[in-house]
Every structure is written in structure tokens, then in C-alpha cells.
């Protein structure tokens, strides 16, 4: 095995190239264990915290670490409150449920930690959500991760079945349609069945105002509403609106008070431990400082960086894991924390520290997220292999004035990510040509260390989208042109507003998936799925014999797509109808300025529309259409009937024909023939048909092309396709990225192809590769930087990088125990390589090998 010093010599067209590592100490490191040498925790404490981190990664749906199980406390106390509150207004019942959980649940305080708080009774556990999805809980009950006592858990789940979102929504749909969705081959299952959710909490109000101020505000609104109801002359057409508002405000007060007392329970606990049990005087002082912080915040406004970090974490736990489950870690962290960084690090007015103190805090935050477990359904554990959940924060970009938004907090966040090396949380960097070099250098440092993040989004494209959606605001209060700069990625790819109001609160607004590869397959078979479920999977759009022209094939696909996307979005909006009636979020509502102003629940109020849905496996469908057009309709080398026979035989006995279809032009090669068809396909159908739909918020729904881990799942459910793919093979692995190994002309040609799709898309994931030796050499930054400028000029929405050698991944497969710090980009998130199931690992190695051949001779194929 080579070390880095000898791996630096590469062949390039008859020359040898020496890429000396920029850091000379790396010269002695074997290339297949590079990533085990890159972590540099900033303190002994964060090193210890990482070593004992309780990861909750899942692989093929199973948790990897021993002793990880579901806890019972949240479901127990929620149910207890639900039974006790029967007859009360639903919003208030939800607040009482939250309060009961927060008041009674066991607190967790771990050694060495400075940021405190957990969402279950034991740091090896995670809570469950029977009110969201009884099916998901049922699966836990039948697994090794069942909450204990199991009888009690089973009784609780049985209690919730009639109350669950799924039971409430299903009656409004044809069971045949739902049966098709539950296949998860052409459409994702409806969100009312999975309970999967996403949200952008308005952290800003908690940090700036504090919850006591929110309570005062709600109480003032209640008093005003009650006064309004007694004002002469009574108007029954308006006056009755006050009832629901008063209920919502009251619920907000209950929720905020419960959160304050929960935080103060942490303060008491820390003080008790400090005064009675802790023997180390240094830790004793620290525990007393924790007690001070948790007593003041989130009740009061934050004054320093430690306050802000703790308040942010408590808010995260409530919004994402206790009040309701939601995936994600959406926040503009550098902007959010900057005032507190300034107070503590620059002005040293409160909680004084130096820059490295801020870095250590961020490292501790990353480790808290790394041990955060989510009680997701099995399907959602399977489709995020190697991860814990999706945690994605956003930094960089421009501020409301359009100036560079990077600051020293941005650098601290990136430096901490590089030093501590955890897969979570992932980072999105909003790239603008105004960004300062110093911060870009940190972005590059993370990229070249192979973290897979920051993934890069185009600053102006995101801002323009916020402005566009604002036009559809139902209450005329969408994002202003200044606020349009305040956007973050909600999850992997889609931008949405952050701030004190107008943020996305539920996945029924944006999220969910549709699978064009399968839709293309059934478009060639009258909507019937012969290869997987053996059932009618979509409308009857015509037998092959009736498809006489390419346009006929095109229109058949269009109809299948219309059917599927219509069903997907209508199930989301029906979910939302019931979410606002039975799954109110009083705490989230309390911290949103809009909900506070109008006395509305966060599920109900939509000021800034943000509709999106993810087409996954678009490129298999697109390449298939190109091959059909070329070989069947242009060249007439084969008939559709012959193609159908070959597909149904999985190409067996049709090898020659398969080579022709495989060699037909493919996306990502700057090929005019293929790119013209695929651009039209994307803009006219994938985006064009989707945006004809208007969702609950009054705006269009737009495609956010990505992959998650679904390209593996859906590939296995999709039969042979006319792009030359065999049945069951993985589908394309990312949004608008070329199919693995079919981009033959290098990275610049990929960018040229991708830049041709400009209309009707909200986000589109692009995977690119960088060579390890080049990126680690002193030339790495300048090469990357000039690449980024061009990417920006081509007006491409997104790009993310893998900088990992095939050698190292193979070594990690052989000896996983030695490669715990090897992180790879799967799709919209990063994962520890050894935590990914072998099938998934192999798809990633295959992807890599295409671009980064085992032989150095293939250096020319390296992508950047």
C-alpha cells in the first residue's frame, strides 16, 4: 500500500506529476488510512466526548451500536395527558401533553458535557410518536428496540390507533391509490402513514426575546381578544374567530411555561450534582455555570455565546423531538450566533472566551447532534443508511443588504467541523462571489478532508426563489426582497426562509418523493408493473402497440407523472388539514411571530409558500427516453415491441441490442442530442407538470432533485430500463448527476450539461469528485476555487464533493474497526462509511471507481 508521499505521483499523458502534500507530515501516512489521521479535536474534553459518543446510526434499518432502544417516557406521559384532557380544546390538549412530558420525564446529564439536554430518559434511547404513526411504533414493538415494559407500550399504541394521523386521513382516499403509494416504487408512502416531518424552527425569537417575553405577548393577545368579545356592538361574523385564537394563545402560554420549567429542572440537577457529588473543583464550577445558564435561558434573552448555544439546543429538542418529531437541523447558524459570538469573543462583555473557545462549543454541539436518536420508521432508517437522521445547517451567503454574510462565527463552525470529524450535522454553504477568501478557505479545508460537506448552494438562485414564492403568499405577507436573503436549506436540498416568521413548519408543505424511473417503466406497459409488484401501478396510458411516435411515449409518461404527483401532493395537503386540527405545535407557534400575531397554529399559518417534492431517479428515466428516441424513432433500428421483449427478458438473449441502448447518448457529456431531450424532459414534465399544482399555501410545487438513499431502494424495485440498465440495478445516485460511470468527458462537461436545465426547478443535487492527492497538495485550493467560480457563472444550483480514495474504502470494508473516521457523501447527507450496509457501500465504491479508477492510469477521469 502506498503512503501519501508515493501516491502523490500520478501519470498524466506521459508525464509524472508530483503532488506533494501541503502538510509535509502527511507524507508518511498510508493512503488507505488517511482519514483516520485527520481529526484534531480542539481540546482533551471534546476528544473524550467523541470517544464515548453514543452514535445511533442505522444500517439496513438496524441500529449498529448495542443497547440502542426506544424509550417509553414520552409516549407514556403524552398518553396520560391525552386521556386526562378529554373534552378540552385540541390545541390545549397538545400543550398539556407537551407539559406533562417535560414535567415528568427523566433528565439526562452526562460527564464532560457542557451543552445539556436530551429527549429521552436514557442517552441510549430515543422517543416514539404513536400519535403520528402507529405503524412505525408497531414495528418497534416487534423488534429488539421495543420500549419496555412492552405490554404498556403495546397498550399505548393500541390507544392511539383511532386517533392517529393515518386513521384520520385514509378515509378520503381510494384504497387502490393508497395501495400503489405503499409500494414505494413510483411514489413515496403518504406522510400521514410514516410520520416523517421537517421544520425550520424560528430560533431567532427564543434567543432574542426569551420565552417570558413570548408568554407576556400571548397573555396580552388573550386579554385583547377577550376585550374585543365584550365590545359593543357584537359582530358574530368576526367575534367568534377569537375563540380559536384564545385557545391557541393559551396553548402557547402552557407550552412556554413548561419549557422554562424543564430548562430550570436541568439547572437544579446541575447544581445538585455540583454541590453534592462532583469532586473535581473545575467541573464543579462548570456545573454551577450550567445551572446559571439553564436557569436564565430560554426564559430570558441570551447574553453570550454559551447562552445562545444552550438555548438553541433546548429549542431544537422541543421542535424536532419532543413536541413533535421532525427531521433536520435547519438554521442559519453563523448569522444566528454572530451577536453572541461578538459579545463573548470580541467584546468579551459576557461569558468571555477566545475564538478557540467558540470552536470547542461548536465541537460539543456537533457531538450532541451525533448522539441524537430519532424514532423514525424502519423505512426511513433504511433510506438514510449510515446516518442518524438528516441534520443539515446552513452558513455563508449574503445578508439582507446583499453583503457578504460570512463572519468569524462561520469560520468557527467550519473549523470545528474539520477538527472533530463527525458525519452529522452536515453543512450547506451558500456560495456568493462576495464571500471572503478566509471563509472559503475553511470551506475548502472541510471539502478536501473528505467530509462530503459543506455542500454548496448558489446564493442568488436561492434568494430569487424566495422572492418568486413570496408572490403567491395568501396573506400578502411573503418574504420581502431583504428577507429573501434569509434562507437556509430545510433539509438536504430545498431552500426556505429562516427567521422570526415565515419559515416552513411541516413536511406537508415541502418534502416527499416521486420516482420517474419506475414511472417510465410502466409508461411502456399501460401503467402495469410487471417487474416488481405485479399490479396496475398507474392509469392505463396505452399498450405499446398504441404508441406510434416518440411524442406518444412522452405523453404516456406525462400522464403517469401527472397521476402520481397529484396523488402525492393531495395526500400532503390532507395531512395538513388534520395536522392543524389534531397535531398542533403550541411551542413552535409561540416562537413564530406570525402565529403569535394571528393566534394561529404553526401547521395552519402559511405566509411564505415553499412547496417542493423530490423526483428521485430522474436520470434513468431521462436517459431511457433519449435511447428510445434515437434507436426506435430516429434511426428505426429497433421497434418498441422488440424493446419491450428485451426488457421483459432482462436483456437476456438481447445482448447486442443492450449494447446499443447502453451506448446511446447519456446525460452529463455535454452532448447536444441527449441534453436537448433531457432539458425539455426536466423543464416541461418533471418541473413543468409539477408546478401546475397549487398546494395548501397557494404556491406552485417545484421539483427538488436529489437521491437520499432511495436510489438504492427504488433501483431494486425498478425493472430493466431502456438506458441499458438491468432490472434491480441501482438507479442514478443524485438529482441531476449523471448515472454512475456514464459521464465520460470529465467534470467540465458535466457542469455544461447540468447548466442547460434552468427553468422550473427548486433544487437539484450534483455529485462531483475531487482527487485526493491533488486536493491535498498546495495547488488544491486554487484549482477548487477556480472550479467554483465557473460553477457559479454557469448558474448551477448545487454541487457537493467526495474526496475519498477507493483504496481507503476497500480497506475499510476489510477492517471496519480501524476506519471509524472515514466519512463519505451518500447523497444529501454524509455518513460514516463503516455504518453503511455492504450493498450501499458497494454502490458508492462503484460510483467512485468510475471516476477514480483503481489504476493511476485513469487519473484523467478524476473529477473535481
Amino acid at each position: 500500500m502506498n503512503d501519501i508521499a508515493s501516491a502523490k505521483i500520478l501519470e498524466y499523458k506521459g508525464k509524472t506529476l508530483n503532488f506533494t502534500p501541503e502538510d509535509p507530515t502527511e507524507a508518511k501516512i498510508p493512503s488507505d488510512e488517511l482519514h483516520e489521521h485527520l481529526q484534531k479535536p480542539s481540546t482533551a474534553r471534546t476528544k473524550r466526548l467523541k470517544e464515548r459518543c453514543r452514535w445511533k446510526h442505522a444500517s439496513a434499518g438496524e441500529f449498529i451500536e448495542k443497547n440502542v432502544t426506544a424509550g417509553i417516557e414520552r409516549m407514556r406521559y403524552l398518553t396520560e395527558a391525552h386521556k386526562a384532557s378529554e373534552g378540552q380544546p385540541e390545541a390545549i390538549r397538545r400543550a398539556l401533553g407537551l407539559a406533562n412530558v417535560l414535567n415528568k420525564s427523566t433528565l439526562v446529564l452526562q460527564e464532560d458535557e457542557f451543552i445539556v439536554g436530551y429527549h429521552a430518559e436514557d442517552p441510549n434511547m430515543f422517543p416514539l410518536y404513536p400519535e403520528l404513526s402507529h405503524m412505525a411504533v408497531q414495528d418497534y414493538l416487534m423488534s429488539d428496540y421495543s420500549p419496555q415494559p412492552a405490554d404498556e407500550a403495546a397498550a399505548i399504541n393500541a390507544y392511539w390507533k383511532p386517533h392517529s394521523l393515518q386513521s384520520k386521513c385514509q378515509p378520503y382516499f381510494d384504497p387502490a391509490d393508497l395501495g400503489r403509494m405503499y409500494q414505494v416504487s413510483s411514489m413515496e408512502a403518504p406522510s400521514f402513514a410514516s410520520g416523517y416531518n421537517s421544520i425550520v424552527p424560528p430560533y431567532e425569537t427564543v434567543l432574542e426575546d426569551g420565552l417570558l417575553a413570548r408568554i407576556k405577548l400571548a397573555e396580552k393577545h388573550i386579554a385583547e381578544a377577550q376585550a374585543d368579545m365584550t365590545t359593543f356592538p357584537w359582530n358574530g361574523t368576526k367575534g367568534l374567530d377569537n375563540i380559536a385564537k384564545i385557545d391557541n394563545w393559551k396553548a402557547m402560554v402552557i407550552a412556554c411555561k413548561a419549557v422554562i420549567s424543564w430548562a430550570r429542572r436541568h439547572a437544579r440537577l446541575a447544581r445538585i450534582v455540583a454541590e453534592n457529588f462532583e469532586t473535581d473543583p473545575k467541573r464543579q464550577a462548570e456545573l454551577l455555570e450550567i445551572a446559571d445558564i439553564c436557569h436564565r435561558i430560554p426564559a430570558e434573552p441570551c447574553k453570550g455565546l454559551k447562552d445562545a448555544m444552550q438555548a438553541k439546543f433546548f429549542t431544537f429538542l422541543i421542535c424536532h423531538a419532543i413536541e413533535r418529531y421532525a427531521s433536520g437541523y435547519a438554521q442559519k447558524e453563523d448569522t444566528l450566533l454572530w451577536p453572541y459570538y461578538k459579545a463573548s469573543v470580541i467584546d468579551k462583555k459576557f461569558q468571555p472566551m477566545d475564538h478557540m473557545g467558540a470552536v470547542e462549543l461548536v465541537e460539543m454541539e456537533r457531538l450532541k447532534i451525533s448522539e441524537h436518536g430519532a424514532g423514525k420508521s424502519r423505512a426511513y432508517r433504511e433510506i438514510f443508511p449510515g446516518s442518524n437522521d438528516l441534520f443539515i445547517l446552513t452558513v455563508g451567503g449574503t445578508n439582507a443588504k446583499g453583503e457578504d454574510a460570512c463572519n468569524d462565527m462561520t469560520d468557527a463552525i467550519l473549523e470545528a467541523a474539520k477538527r472533530i470529524r463527525t458525519a452529522e450535522p452536515s453543512i450547506v454553504f451558500r456560495y456568493s462571489k462576495k464571500n471572503r477568501d478566509k471563509t472559503l478557505r475553511w470551506v475548502f479545508e472541510c471539502v478536501r478532508d473528505g467530509l462530503g460537506y459543506p455542500s454548496i448552494k448558489h446564493d442568488e438562485i436561492g434568494t430569487e426563489q424566495m422572492k418568486e414564492y413570496a408572490k403567491f403568499s395568501l396573506n400578502g405577507n411573503g418574504a420581502t426582497d431583504e428577507e429573501a436573503h434569509n434562507w437556509v436549506n430545510v433539509l438536504c436540498m430545498s431552500p426556505g426562509i429562516h427567521g422570526r416568521r415565515k419559515t416552513q413548519k411541516t413536511r406537508s408543505e415541502g418534502g416527499g418523493s416521486i420516482f420517474p424511473a419506475k414511472l417510465l417503466e410502466i409508461s411502456l406497459n399501460d401503467g402495469y408493473d410487471w417487474s416488481y409488484a405485479d399490479m396496475q401501478l398507474g392509469p392505463k396510458t396505452g399498450q405499446l402497440a398504441s404508441l406510434k411516435t416518440f411524442e406518444d411515449v412522452w405523453e404516456a409518461f406525462r400522464k403517469q407523472y401527472q397521476y402520481a404527483i397529484n396523488l402525492c401532493i393531495s395526500t400532503k395537503d390532507v395531512s395538513r388539514y388534520f395536522e392543524q386540527r389534531f397535531l398542533q405545535m403550541p411551542f413552535v407557534s409561540a416562537i413564530d411571530d406570525g402565529c403569535m400575531e394571528f393566534g394561529m397554529d404553526a401547521n395552519a399559518l402559511s405566509e411564505q409558500p415553499n412547496g417542493w417534492h423530490n423526483p428521485i431517479t430522474t436520470i434513468v428515466a431521462a436517459n431511457s427516453l433519449v435511447a428510445i428516441k434515437k434507436l426506435v424513432f430516429d434511426e428505426k433500428k429497433y421497434t418498441l415491441d422488440q424493446l419491450s421483449q428485451a426488457l421483459k427478458a432482462n436483456w437476456e438473449g438481447f445482448e447486442e441490442m443492450r449494447v446499443d441502448f447502453k451506448r446511446a447518448p447519456k446525460w452529463g457529456n455535454d452532448d447536444d442530442y441527449a441534453d436537448a431531450i433531457i432539458t425539455r424532459f426536466y423543464e416541461e414534465i418533471i418541473g413543468g407538470e409539477m408546478r401546475k399544482i397549487t398546494n395548501y399555501s397557494g404556491g406552485p410545487v417545484m421539483p427538488t432533485g436529489q437521491a437520499v438513499g432511495l436510489y438504492m431502494e427504488v433501483g431494486s424495485r425498478t425493472g430493466p430500463t431502456p438506458d441499458g440498465r438491468f432490472g434491480g440495478e441501482a438507479a442514478d445516485d443524485g438529482g441531476i448527476s449523471p448515472y454512475m460511470g456514464t459521464d465520460k468527458k470529465g467534470p467540465t462537461a458535466v457542469l455544461r450539461s447540468v447548466s442547460k436545465v434552468q427553468k422550473n426547478q427548486k433544487g437539484n443535487l450534483l455529485n462531483q469528485r475531487l482527487s485526493v492527492p491533488i486536493m491535498r497538495s498546495k495547488h488544491g485550493f486554487e484549482i477548487w476555487n477556480s472550479y467554483m467560480k465557473t460553477w457559479h457563472d454557469l448558474n448551477i444550483d448545487h454541487v457537493q464533493f467526495n474526496v475519498v480514495s477507493t483504496d481507503e474504502m476497500r480497506a475499510a470494508q476489510r477492517e471496519p474497526e480501524k476506519h471509524h473516521d472515514l466519512i463519505v457523501r451518500v447523497s444529501g447527507y454524509s455518513a460514516r462509511f463503516v455504518d453503511i450496509p455492504t450493498y450501499g457501500q458497494n454502490t458508492i465504491i462503484a460510483r467512485q471507481e468510475q471516476d477514480f479508477s483503481a489504476s493511476d492510469l485513469e487519473f484523467l477521469n478524476v473529477e473535481i
Partner: protein, 332 residues
């Protein structure tokens, strides 16, 4: 105008001149350096690679060959594969077309000038942002002087930076003279300064090469020198001294010197082309990387500012406004 075959158009090239570049490799070279790493660019005619490891023994190539070059045999472990004898090969490439598993692939594509231009100009935006451009390489592009001149002229029309990689072999100066107008950078491979060794080993006299280099310098052209350091051929202290003393005379006029260590990666290509017998460096070991240190130091002491090992000149800022404008035009 006769258009040469293209072996490859390599986008995102980093070592053929400054910035991000696209390099065109033309097929054909009059020299026969015995260590050549790119044997597929020597012969001006089409050839094909054969990779036995990909062969599934289906026999389709046997059936289509008009000259009977291929036959099915059973190898030691009982697998049926194709045995190939290229002696009578007519280069019709029917076998390549027949192969379903890419065990045979063609070396040398026919492309029109328009196709070449479209491909090489696609990345103009990258050239602008990196100070890069297009490099015409080979083989030796001066083996096709009329075409190379025309291509350089057409690229220059678009205000894109043009480099040429050549050994400067032509004995007739009229070949090089017209290029001066269109070529921004000449990258000249200087294989030895010992006339006897040059002629005997490379098969070409040294003098016309030196004449051409000096003519380029006198004419004000930008010149980088490439020195391939080959074990046992030009890596003795005397060879290094010769290089240093010769190049020091032009130290201030040269753009720089790139030192390229010999390596063995070309070996596999000879085998795949069925020309393993031509490869005279089989078994020759690579020099340790520090072998060239005295040469680097000497060249720097002689006053040459830009000396690299490997040829990565790096990214420069925007070259100038005209390049920027041209690049913007290209993408719109």
C-alpha cells in the same frame, strides 16, 4: 486539408500549460523515443486496444475479421478466449464494432474541424476563471502542420489562449514561422543536448530542434521547456550540466522549465496495442523522486524563475479582459 486522427480530447487538463485547459491529442509522431509513454499517438494510422481480461470468448470478432487475425482458443484454466495475431490486420475495425464487452476499442477518431472546435471551446468559462486555454498536443502536432496552423488560427479567433506541445523537430523553419501569430505558448520537449545520443536513440538530429527553439525565442515567443528525465539516457551529472548551461543562456527569455520524471505507466498500452516487443524500457526502474533535485537547483541558480516537477503551472487570475469577453461570448 487533411485532418489527423484524434486520440483524445482531454477536458480539465492541469499540466499542459497554465490554468484549466483542454488538450487535444493528435495521432502521429516522427520520433520513436524508446521510453515513450503514449505509444498510441506514434502511428498516424488507426489502431485498436485489445484487453483479454474483458474478452468473454463469444467469437463475434473472429466471424467478422476479413484477414483471419483472431481465433478462439481454450486457455489454461479452461476458459475460451480470443487469440490475436495482428500481422495481417487491415485496420478495418470491424472487430471493434462487433465486440459487446469493450474488449476492443479504437485508438484514433475521425473528427471534423467543427466538431473539434465545438468540443474544445465548450469550457471557455473555465479558461477565463483559471487563466487557462487550449493545448494542441500529440504525438507531435507539427507532424500535421497545415491542420495545426488552421486549428490554432480558429481558436485564436475566439480569443482563447493557445499552447502547443512539440519536440520542435521540423527541419524546415517555414513550418514554425506562421504559428507565431496564433500560438501563445510553445511547450518544447527537449530530450537531450548530446547530438550523438539524440540522433541514435530518438532517431532525429538535435540541431534543427535547437535552431527552432532559438528561433522561437528570438521571435519573442513564449517558450516552456519540458525535460523528460529518463534513467540511463539523460540522467547523468553531465546531462544535467548540459541542460543547465544551455538553458541558462536563455534564462530570462524562457517562461519556465518543467521536469518530468520517467515512469512505467506506458507499459500496459504497448501490450494492449500488441506492440510489447517495441517497448525497450521493460523492466527499467523509475528514479527515486529526489534524483532530479540537482537539476532543479541548477536551473533555478541559472536564473530560471519557474521550474516545476511535473508541469503543474497552476491557476492564474483572469488573464485579461479580452479573454473574459471571448469566454462570455462562447457560452452564450
Amino acid at each position: 486539408m487533411k485532418i489527423p486522427l484524434v486520440t483524445e480530447i482531454q477536458r480539465f487538463s492541469l499540466q499542459d500549460g497554465p490554468g484549466i485547459r483542454t488538450t487535444i491529442f493528435l495521432k502521429g509522431c516522427p520520433l520513436r523515443c524508446p521510453w515513450c509513454h503514449n505509444p498510441e499517438t506514434q502511428d498516424v494510422r488507426q489502431e485498436f486496444y485489445y484487453y483479454p481480461s474483458r474478452c468473454v470468448g463469444c467469437g463475434r470478432c473472429v466471424a467478422v475479421c476479413p484477414a483471419g487475425t483472431s481465433r478462439l482458443v481454450r486457455n489454461a484454466d479452461g476458459r475460451t478466449i480470443v487469440e490475436l495475431d495482428r500481422t495481417d490486420c487491415q485496420r478495418c475495425m470491424r472487430c471493434v464494432a462487433a465486440c459487446l464487452t469493450d474488449a476492443r476499442t479504437t485508438v484514433g477518431q475521425r473528427m471534423s474541424v467543427e466538431e473539434i472546435l465545438r468540443e474544445v471551446l465548450s469550457d471557455s468559462l473555465f479558461y477565463r476563471n483559471s487563466g487557462g486555454g487550449i493545448t494542441i498536443s500529440g504525438g507531435d502536432p507539427l507532424f500535421h502542420p497545415v491542420f495545426t496552423l488552421e486549428l490554432a488560427r480558429r481558436i485564436k479567433e475566439r480569443k482563447v489562449h493557445v499552447a502547443i506541445e512539440t519536440s520542435c523537430f521540423p527541419k524546415n523553419r517555414e513550418v514554425i514561422q506562421p504559428l507565431l501569430e496564433f500560438v501563445d505558448l510553445f511547450i518544447v520537449d527537449l530530450k537531450s543536448l548530446n547530438p550523438k545520443k539524440h540522433e541514435e536513440v530518438v532517431g532525429w538530429p538535435l540541431q534543427p530542434i535547437l535552431d527552432n527553439i532559438e528561433h522561437l525565442i528570438r521571435s519573442g515567443a513564449n517558450v516552456r521547456i519540458h525535460i523528460p528525465v529518463i534513467p540511463g539516457f539523460n540522467d547523468s551529472p553531465q546531462d544535467f550540466t548540459d541542460y543547465i548551461s544551455y538553458l541558462s543562456r536563455h534564462a530570462k527569455q524562457l517562461e519556465g522549465v518543467d521536469i518530468l520524471n520517467y515512469h512505467t505507466y506506458g507499459e500496459g498500452k504497448y501490450c494492449s496495442l500488441g506492440r510489447e516487443k517495441e517497448y525497450q524500457y521493460l523492466g527499467v526502474e523509475e528514479n527515486p523522486p529526489d534524483k532530479v533535485v540537482p537539476l532543479v537547483k541548477g536551473l533555478k541558480l541559472a536564473g530560471i524563475e519557474s521550474v516545476t516537477i511535473g508541469g503543474l503551472v497552476g491557476i492564474t487570475a483572469d488573464r485579461d479582459e479580452t479573454t473574459r469577453d471571448a469566454a462570455t461570448r462562447c457560452i452564450t
